[in-house]
């Protein structure tokens, strides 16, 4: 339990700092910028209480917002992601796997499953984030394109990071 607390605190801090200190400065083709920090919410154990997920989403979003001066934008999206995570996980995984393994990882599930899982959440997260950030329907397709292209980069980063840091 204490071990887990330490581990996930570390993931939280690394994810947020990597996002605000490094990845926020990345801008490819003048419109693609990845949001990698979502990985923290994706990696939490299956048995995390629902209220806890919502609360952690709130804290994660607020931390990123504070650094990027976008008060409320990341917070609103992350709270929603935390709230819908159990529902979507119930749909895409069986009860047995959820009870036998502790958390969603490539090592315990499969690569394809993990890519699918990441894609679902990154898509929801990026679409809402970019719309909320723009806060207008003007230039809707430009916003949409930014969200989709940035999403692809984020998914790649999240999946690759699994091979780098969470190999067994």
């Amino acid at each position: 339990m204490v071990n887990n607390l330490l581990k996930y605190s570390l993931i939280f801090i690394v994810a947020v700092l990597l996002q605000v200190l490094v990845l926020n400065h990345i801008l490819i083709l003048r419109m693609i910028s990845p949001f990698f920090y979502l990985i923290f919410l994706l990696l939490l154990p299956y048995d995390t209480p629902r209220a806890m997920l919502v609360l952690l989403g709130f804290i994660l979003g607020l931390s990123v917002d504070t650094f990027t001066n976008t008060l409320g934008v990341h917070t609103a999206v992350c709270v929603l992601i935390g709230f819908i995570r159990p529902g979507i996980l119930n749909k895409i995984s069986t009860r047995e796997t959820r009870e036998s393994v502790s958390a969603p990882r490539i090592s315990t599930m499969s690569l394809n499953w993990f890519i699918g899982y990441t894609t679902i959440f990154v898509t929801i997260h990026h679409l809402l984030l970019f719309m909320l950030e723009a806060f207008t329907f003007q230039g809707f397709f430009f916003t949409l394109m930014r969200a989709v292209l940035s999403g692809i980069l984020s998914i790649m980063l999240i999946v690759i990071s699994q091979f780098l840091f969470f190999r067994k």
Partner: protein, 289 residues
């Protein structure tokens, strides 16, 4: 009553979700209405600490360019200073009004009192990848930074101070859809409003220039003295493209920014010592309506 408690207990995560979601959405909405949020910005101590300590790592690559720019600016200022000293020895008022360098000529008013003061600060965080970009500077209230001070880099407009913490401050950049700045074409003094459409970080848009004004590619766009945060005549950029929409009375003008926002290291803060007086005067006008 007991049933109500049971309901709340059973669906406590839903209630928590609703409360937090409404709270954060209301932050987004109020943030969009009022130019800037009053709390939890990057001018606070914690994010300032991280930015201050890690900014150096990435800025090393930009240092060479920053050095050259500073050296160039120094040289310009030295030349301007010499002109100034030569002419002020003649002791005529026209002498400094005809100065070409706005940094020196516009810092004084007709009563020969210094109006604009400059101090320097280091950029510790900066972004160009959002629709609403901000910079964080390593100086705050203790070092004398105040809201509404203008921020320039090598004599070119960068942004405006919005939030000031103890040791850090946040600057709203030109690359922020929520900030508009009045600007004019240097050649013929016609002014319009400058804003960013959120697309290309190297280009901003100048609007409200009427169609009868002669505009050319390569025209320099500079500040007007209207905002009282910037002296008149500071360079913003150069006209790169202009078009007249069908049936429109105003040009759409793209301006190439003079500042490269991806490599800003050192900036100067402009303080208008008469800002208080100007604001007081203008608020009198508004009351009279």
């Amino acid at each position: 009553m007991r049933n109500l408690f049971r309901l709340i207990l059973r669906y406590h995560h839903v209630f928590l979700f609703l409360i937090l979601e409404i709270f954060s959405l209301s932050l987004v909405v109020s943030y969009n209405n009022y130019q800037n949020a009053k709390f939890l910005t990057s001018s606070n101590g914690i994010s300032g600490y991280f930015f201050e300590n890690f900014a150096g790592v990435f800025q090393v690559f930009d240092l060479k360019k920053a050095n050259t720019e500073l050296a160039e600016e120094n040289a310009q200022l030295r030349t301007a200073l010499q002109h100034y000293q030569l002419r002020s020895s003649n002791n005529s008022i026209q002498s400094y009004q005809s100065q070409r360098n706005p940094l020196i000529s516009m810092t004084r008013d007709s009563l020969n009192k210094i109006v604009y003061f400059f101090t320097t600060a280091r950029v510790i965080n900066n972004s160009v990848n959002q629709r609403h970009n901000f910079l964080t500077l390593n100086k705050g209230r203790i070092q004398g930074v105040k809201p509404d001070m203008g921020v320039v880099s090598a004599g070119r407009v960068v942004g405006l101070v919005t939030n000031v913490g103890e040791n850090y401050s946040t600057v709203i950049s030109i690359l922020n859809e929520r900030w508009k700045l009045s600007a004019k074409i240097k050649r013929n003094d016609f002014f319009g409003s400058l804003s960013w459409n959120g697309k290309d970080y190297r280009k901003v848009q100048l609007n409200e220039i009427p169609y009868h004004v002669p505009v050319q590619n390569g025209d320099t766009v500079v500040t007007t003295g209207f905002s009282s945060s910037f002296p008149e005549g500071l360079e913003i950029g150069i006209v790169s493209e202009y078009s007249l929409g069908s049936g429109s009375n105003f040009y759409k003008i793209d301006v190439n920014l003079a500042v490269d926002f991806r490599s800003i290291v050192q900036v100067a803060l402009v303080e208008n010592r008469q800002l208080k007086e100007i604001n007081k005067l203008e608020s009198l006008n508004n009351d009279g309506k």
